[in-house]
Symmetry: C2
Subunit: 332 residues, 2 copies
């Protein structure tokens, strides 16, 4: 491939001049600039970003480590990140941790090795030594969706407490009393926060929180299905099941359907996380919608603040309850 040296020779100038043209330096005459541009296109010159990054110590690249690329929530998050990063002239490298701490660490290592200018992480586990170390090196870092308590890292997350309270109130109004929550893992902030909010809402509504109605899954389809099976096998099964994310909801629907049960007559269903297809399910699923893409965009802005050395303030955006028909009154 053509190098800057070739362009310089072709245009009859020095490499410094070509570099100046490349970087829009003001002190280049229009004629020289034109000659250089002509040479660049004649040689199909594409500047070597690797060499440039080595010299400038900046890659104009951000790393994003998501929990699970097959989860539409993370996909939409990634979309928001992409959009905002593009707008600011950055490229995003996405790493899929597949909800495993080792994979997450693998990508942390790779992305640090690639010298990304900043890192956006949806942490997969409580905290790994590598992440700990990352924090102490003061590298620009922002947690997204999930946080790790005790670490001084800015974060962007959705706050679902109010929406969960609204959901519990709705369920109560619809006559449901025995409500179960199939949450995410307690090792994740989102798993804990949603459980806490659920317990608080139930207590606030004067409903009993039964330990056997509180289960922790892993935010994936399989655990949603397994938990649903266990709940439905109870001698006194719940009247309603609230799932901690969209994939667990999908698994729950699978199990309910496999048993030939009807929603909401046999069991009501609600989901934390809204996805496009919920309106087409029979019946349409009541869900708590997060401002997903906006979370991604805000996270990028925060991260670029850190990259620029500005202070960054954490953000929590409210989630909203979307009532459909999967929690209606029994027999309604």
């Amino acid at each position: 491939m053509a190098r800057i040296k070739d362009v310089a020779a072709h245009a009859g100038v020095s490499v410094a001049t070509v570099s100046r043209v490349l970087n829009d330096h003001p002190s280049v005459t229009p004629e020289t600039r034109d000659r250089v541009y002509a040479a660049m296109s004649a040689l199909r010159y594409v500047p070597n970003a690797v060499a440039r990054s080595l010299r400038t110590e900046a890659t104009r690249t951000l790393g994003l480590i998501i929990g699970d690329i097959l989860n539409p929530f993370f996909t939409e998050l990634a979309r928001g990140v992409e959009d905002e990063a593009r707008r600011a002239g950055y490229t995003v490298i996405i790493g899929n941790a597949d909800e495993r701490a080792e994979e997450q660490d693998h990508y942390v290592r790779t992305l640090v090795g690639q010298r990304v200018d900043g890192l956006l992480i949806c942490p997969t586990a409580e905290v790994t030594p590598l992440v700990q170390e990352l924090v102490s090196t003061a590298r620009p870092l922002v947690f997204l969706d999930r946080t790790i308590s005790g670490l001084d890292v800015p974060f962007v997350r959705a706050d679902g407490a109010r929406a969960i309270a609204g959901l519990v109130a709705h369920l109560k109004e619809m006559g449901h009393r025995r409500i179960a929550f199939a949450s995410g893992p307690a090792t994740l902030s989102t798993g804990r926060e949603r459980t806490d909010a659920f317990v608080a809402a139930m207590t606030g509504a004067g409903l009993e929180v039964r330990p056997d109605y509180l289960a922790a899954g892993d935010f994936r389809e399989g655990s949603g299905r397994a938990i649903t099976a266990r709940l439905l096998d109870l001698t006194e099964p719940p009247e309603a099941i609230f799932f901690g994310d969209n994939l667990m909801t999908l698994g729950g629907l699978d199990e309910i359907r496999a048993r030939g049960l009807r929603i909401p007559d046999d069991v009501a269903v609600a989901s934390f996380d809204d996805v496009t297809w919920f309106v087409h399910v029979d019946p349409p699923i009541t869900a708590i919608a997060q401002p997903t893409a906006e979370l991604g965009r805000r996270a990028v802005r925060l991260l670029l603040d850190r990259v620029a050395g500005r202070p960054a303030e954490s953000v929590a955006l409210p989630a909203e309850l979307v009532i459909r028909r999967s929690c209606e009154r029994k027999g309604a």
Copy 2:
């Protein structure tokens, strides 16, 4: 950050020796090796991939340009690509073309600038000058999902012809005669191929292909909805609509639901592309499933063949018809 020079000083050796340790060069004594490793962890040394790439002219990075990151088909494709690339020790940079040729070209430029070792493209348009140029520079390149005719580039795609014939036969057996196809854009190979296969299948089954039942969308939700509206407004609307991809199906379902029509009594529905939630729709959607993740994995293998200078042979994997209940006999 610590540099190789720092590690060398700390371990009391030269940078060459540290580099040898880094690259598992055999001629380093175990004692030296240990000293170097100790120095590396003491200094929390992470090799600078940027510098390494500049010197070795290899980034161990692949670029993947997909059509639309919000389309679960591409997400799953990306997952397959990721997995296989990881296995071979490569990192993947994903670019989202958002189905726009300019965005695609933007990512081609960026990724070539980053000097990725190979490029996987799901081309968004017939052919752009930039892609044309890319082909002529003999850079390792593989087309994925979609191809561009006339270019000598290996590709990996799904072959849906047989499944489409099966679908048409199924529809005919169920008593449907007036069948419409809401395809993707004619500028994309997948749009054309599916249309051709549909027309061939209809003709083969002795059914009439009415021009007003053949519409081209853009593989996104909105066009699926718009086409459905237009078809249903016809004085003689189709009895069945076959959608060219999962997002268009989603849009079609939206429109059908908004009109209060029932599936399959008022109109039958089928989708090219199967997605997890189709089983939960009322009624479950009959679809043609592509071996999506496998397409991604095969594409990476092909691309790595090219990177290694080996010949690469294009692949077409068969798609399969999955019959559910959205095309059942009218009134059944």
